[in-house]
């Protein structure tokens, strides 16, 4: 390899930077990093399959093993189950923000990003955006399978739009919480199990797999009022026509609230963490 001394690769007049507003660059940086994370997904399909296969396995197990013994009234168990499985899948999928952020921090590429004149929050936005992409694909796969095992939605276009909107907000909310976890954990191993110990109990102590009314009093109170149940109840109502009650607006409110709190906390942690 020979590099001519007079070569242009170092002369600054060979470099043209663009001038745009701060907002433009914040969006541009986020998009550049989201593209990066999305390429990770398409080049490392294990993650995508793990996210889609796990809920499908759950779906089939609950539908055929437990389903017969669970009383969901007039509603078929397949129809009852879809909302729960979808929300559980979104929650687990968002856990990849924790994992991938921990990996980035450990590998030192975050140091490179932070030494660039870019918006530092873009690193987080990139991971959260990639979660959304991965979750969308997984959701389509899970929905496809659900139709095969007896899912018969009654939702019209408006209801489908509501489901889509709430699902997106929910995915974003959990991803931002996961980002906080990713910045707090000390190792990749920890990043892998934190999601499970938080999301497993939350999805089971909810109305995802069984109606809450047979649970012990304290558990039932928690299950009925925690955010996952609100989101599940709302999505179930819109998909298969169960009464929606307050779950619709409560579901949206929880998600928006979590995003409003978690986003600045994660960004602050990211700046602080990296500077120490």
């Amino acid at each position: 390899m020979t590099i001519p001394s007079s070569s242009s690769f170092i002369t600054a007049n060979n470099v043209q930077t663009e001038k745009h507003s701060k907002v433009f660059w914040a969006l541009s940086d986020s998009w550049v990093l989201a593209k990066r994370s999305i390429k990770h997904i398409t080049r490392n399909l294990d993650q995508l399959f793990a996210v889609a296969l796990f809920p499908i396995m759950f779906f089939l197990l609950f539908r055929y093993v437990f389903g017969g013994a669970i009383d969901t009234g007039d509603l078929s168990y397949a129809n009852f189950l879809v909302a729960g499985i979808l929300v559980q899948m979104l929650a687990f999928g968002a856990n990849y923000t924790t994992l991938n952020l921990a990996i980035d921090l450990q590998r030192g590429i975050v140091d490179r990003f932070r030494s660039l004149p870019m918006a530092s929050s873009a690193v987080l936005v990139g991971h959260v955006g990639a979660d959304l992409f991965r979750n969308t694909i997984s959701a389509l796969i899970v929905l496809g399978v659900s139709f095969l095992v007896g899912f018969q939605p009654v939702a019209g276009p408006v209801e489908w739009m509501l489901v889509l909107g709430l699902a997106i907000l929910f995915s974003l909310a959990i991803s931002w919480l996961s980002a906080i976890m990713g910045l707090l954990v000390k190792s990749m191993e920890a990043a892998q199990w934190t999601g499970f110990i938080i999301i497993f109990p939350l999805t089971f102590v909810s109305s995802a797999f069984v109606p809450t009314d047979t649970m012990p009093e304290a558990l039932r109170l928690f299950a009925e009022n925690q955010p996952l149940t609100q989101v599940i109840e709302a999505i179930r109502a819109w998909l298969v026509g169960t009464p929606v009650g307050d779950s619709g607006w409560l579901g949206f409110a929880w998600c928006v609230g979590i995003i409003i709190v978690a986003m600045p906390v994660a960004t602050w942690l990211f700046r602080r963490q990296a500077l120490r």
Binding site: M1, F9, I10, A12, T17, W25, K35, R112, S115
Partner: protein
């Protein structure tokens, strides 16, 4: 050094040291992790278009200095200016002037070489057109053209480091930080890296690099700053340091342990290093046959039997032994925990 004191005064007086001459000016830099002091008042001054090498063992504070100068870490005290911009208060301005290549290649494994360059180019705010053109140039120059469409996962260690440096150069930053740029590289890749660094300097780039390797500092640096335990213990040109350590070391191994003391007394002189375990004495020399003859005949006269005689290049250990009276390994031990702590934080 004169320069350092002069620039340091100017930092104090004006609050912002802007000079056409100085790319990097550092004054009284301090940093501790919890109770552990990693930097204890570092003064540096790097002229535009020159190379300064920070030489020191693990845990001496080299990486911490680079991390502060590249805005990754906040100092506890002191001031650091990059082309007159403060690394704390004007971090974003500084970031558009610097390129950083760390100890471990900070490139994305799942992206191709080309995609890595594109991504960083855009984050440096280059135009798409410009990025394409520069990516091609850099891939060619760094001999990565053939591998450009392959993911970095398939690259060898040397290729990764080359890509890592290419990525740092995408926006042609006038100041580049290289943290142990050749550690872990095989000799051919190492020579390629040195060649690239020399070309960069020839083109006017200012470089601050860290190294544990005397040869590397000798070959690349205009000025060498030796640090240990977060303090500067010596600085000067390679020649100036060599005058103190010797451009070559004459190493003599004595056959009998019993005659070690005699040998020591006979040879005694400046910069004599002793290792009684291996019965070895080493002394600074200019590599002349005359001196060798003299030493051997003196040993012969005293009845000391010599087992082995050799010339070798001075190592970091020799520098340290001469400057501090202890070897790097003893420093490394006490700093081993220091290093570990840093990683934990």
């Amino acid at each position: 050094m004169n320069n350092t004191t002069q620039s340091a005064t100017e930092i104090e007086e004006t609050g912002r040291y802007v000079s056409a001459d100085n790319a990097i000016a550092v004054k009284g830099l301090r940093k501790s992790f919890k109770k552990l002091t990693v930097l204890n008042g570092i003064d540096l001054c790097v002229k535009r278009g020159t190379v300064l090498a920070l030489l020191g063992p693990n845990g001496a504070g080299k990486t911490t200095t680079i991390r502060i100068l590249s805005t990754l870490l906040l100092p506890d005290g002191g001031q650091a200016l990059i082309r007159g911009f403060d690394v704390v208060r004007e971090a974003n301005k500084v970031r558009s002037l610097i390129g950083l290549t760390g100890q471990y290649a900070a490139v994305d494994e799942y992206l191709t070489g080309e995609e890595n360059l594109h991504m960083i180019g855009r984050l440096y705010r280059l135009s798409h057109q410009n990025i394409k053109q520069r990516t091609q140039e850099l891939l060619e120059l760094f001999d990565l053209m053939e591998a450009s469409a392959r993911t970095v996962k398939t690259y060898s260690g040397g290729m990764r480091r080359r890509l890592d440096l290419a990525v740092s150069l995408i926006a042609a930053p006038p100041i580049i930080f290289l943290d142990e740029p050749t550690t872990g590289l095989d000799p051919p890749s190492r020579l390629i890296m040195w060649d690239i660094i020399e070309q960069l300097v020839a083109a006017g780039t200012t470089i601050l690099l860290t190294t544990q390797d005397m040869d590397e500092a000798d070959r690349l640096a205009d000025k060498i700053v030796v640090i240990d335990g977060g303090r500067i213990i010596a600085e000067g040109t390679s020649d100036e340091l060599k005058q103190r350590v010797g451009s070559e070391r004459l190493e003599i191994t004595i056959a009998e342990a019993s005659s070690f003391e005699t040998a020591k007394r006979v040879i005694d002189g400046e910069g004599l290093h002793l290792d009684s375990k291996t019965r070895t004495l080493s002394l600074a020399t200019k590599g002349g046959v005359h001196q060798l003859k003299q030493v051997l005949s003196r040993l012969d006269e005293a009845g000391v039997e010599v087992e082995n005689v050799s010339f070798r290049r001075p190592t970091l250990d020799d520098v340290f032994l001469t400057l501090t009276g202890h070897t790097t390994t003893t420093t490394e031990q006490s700093n081993g925990q220091r290093q570990k702590k840093v990683v934990e934080v």
